[in-house]
């Protein structure tokens, strides 16, 4: 999902950076003190998730976990993802510093969208919550794929073609992330329900 350096035009880079700044500001504002450890933990999980290799497809893919992040923290997912991406760029050479803003938007926007989209489902017990949790994990990846395609649009690559390629390539990741999100949601609901208070608040 990380877009490499030198692919995008300056206008797209600037736009992405601006959006990322706004999102980070909102996220920091919405993050109360009690939530800080939770956000930090998820930022760390996101940072490491990229190293977990899903050996499918032509390129080989890795976990993203942005759906899970959105589900658990909502808006503060933006600063959490920003910091994780910054460190990935510095330490792993994933993406790059100039593309940091765009990559943040690509991965954080779906997290926040899924949070608001599936919150009503997640609040209901039983099957709806299960569907919501799975969808949260899967749809976040789908949206990220579409955002990658949208960002590449300005480089002259046909949107539909890239979108189809990205989405098809990420179907295994969507399934894996859906299952992981579902699993962690139910696990936390039983063992650590206070971690889910963002959903019920």
């Amino acid at each position: 999902m990380h877009i490499s350096e030198g692919v995008l035009s300056p206008a797209v880079l600037a736009g992405g950076a601006a959006l990322a700044v706004v999102g980070t500001a909102i996220g920091l504002k919405k993050m109360d003190n009690a939530a800080i450890p939770r956000v930090a933990l998820l930022s760390a999980a996101f940072f490491v998730a990229s190293l977990i290799h899903v050996p499918v497809g032509p390129v080989g893919l890795h976990l993203v976990l942005n759906g899970l992040m959105g589900l658990l923290v909502g808006w503060p997912a933006v600063p959490a993802i920003l910091i994780a991406l910054l460190l990935q760029a510095l330490l792993f050479q994933f993406g790059g510093l100039t593309v940091l803003g765009v990559n943040t938007v690509v991965m954080a926007a779906p997290a926040v969208i899924c949070f608001w989209l599936f919150r009503p489902l997640l609040r209901r017990p039983g099957a709806p919550a299960a569907v919501g949790a799975f969808a949260c994990g899967a749809v976040a990846i789908l949206l990220s794929g579409l955002l990658v395609a949208a960002a590449l649009l300005t480089t002259g690559q046909a949107f539909l073609q890239v979108a189809r390629l990205v989405v098809l390539a990420h179907i295994p990741v969507m399934l894996v992330e859906g299952v992981i999100t579902l699993f962690i949601f139910f696990f936390l609901q039983k063992v650590r329900p206070e971690m889910l208070e963002g959903i019920y608040a």
């Binding site: 990380h2 877009i3 490499s4 350096e5 030198g6 692919v7 995008l8 920091l28 003190n33 800080i36 450890p37 956000v39 930090a40 930022s43 760390a44 940072f47 490491v48 990229s50 190293l51 977990i52 290799h53 899903v54 050996p55 032509p58 390129v59 080989g60 893919l61 890795h62 976990l63 910091i83 994780a84 460190l87 990935q88 330490l91 792993f92 050479q93 994933f94 990658v148 960002a151 590449l152 690559q157 890239v162 390629l165 990205v166 390539a169 992981i180 699993f183 962690i184 696990f187 039983k190 063992v191 650590r192 329900p193 206070e194």
Partner: protein, 215 residues
């Protein structure tokens, strides 16, 4: 807070089991692979430049779009597509050799993946010499007797042969260098990153808590 302790008592080891299994399973599936950093490596062999592109650590870039550009002007000299092994070779364009261009080789693999390699002129020009003008040592031969001419010819052939042999011997070394020039993620990187994250959020929490105390 509300029902945590109750739930914990009610749901003992039962739910930790699957989670632990899942985490272990994922770690087992996790290789130190960074599947989507694209690295390009190029070297010259005589009049040909070979390029090799792969996703770190070892997945060849199949069907990647290769562009060879002049670094200074950014003009595209030629384009091509990588094969099944992620390789693409081309003969050095005459204008590039004539103007001693530094070549920027950009490989694009779609979905926002891109990598590049800079091939400096002095890295590929020496290989061209035998086919081009006479080497510099032969220059002062004009004033010498005819016997010396044969000697320089022999020397030229010898040089050519040596160059060929060296090229052949150096190719595996070059590939090894390419292999080594790829920076791999190490455990200290990962642990360091986790530490940074904790530190950054710790700092934020610290300033938040101070702000709350004395408003």
């Amino acid at each position: 807070m509300r029902s945590t302790s109750f739930c914990l008592r009610k749901m003992p080891a039962l739910h930790w089991g699957p989670l632990v299994c899942a985490v272990l399973g994922l770690l087992a599936a996790a290789s130190p692979a960074l599947a989507h950093r694209l690295v390009v490596f190029a070297y010259a062999e005589g009049r040909t430049i070979h390029t090799e592109s792969k996703f770190v650590p070892d997945t060849p870039v199949r069907g990647g779009q290769v562009q060879v550009l002049d670094r200074q002007t950014g003009a595209v000299l030629l384009t091509g597509t990588t094969d099944e092994q992620g390789k693409f070779s081309f003969t050095i364009p005459d204008e590039a050799a004539a103007r001693k261009m530094d070549l920027r080789i950009v490989v694009e693999a779609g979905m926002g993946h891109q990598g590049e390699w800079l091939l400096k002129a002095e890295r590929y020009l020496p290989g061209l010499k035998p086919a081009g003008a006479a080497p510099p040592p032969a220059a002062p031969s004009a004033a010498e007797p005819p016997g010396a001419k044969a000697a320089t010819l022999d020397q030229k052939m010898l040089e050519e042969a040596l160059t060929r042999i060296l090229e052949r011997q150096l190719t595996p070394m070059r590939e090894m260098l390419a292999e080594m020039s790829v920076r791999r993620t190490s455990l200290p990187d990962i642990i360091g990153g986790l530490g940074y994250i904790m530190g950054i959020f710790g700092l934020w929490a610290y300033f938040q808590s101070r702000g709350k105390k004395n408003p």
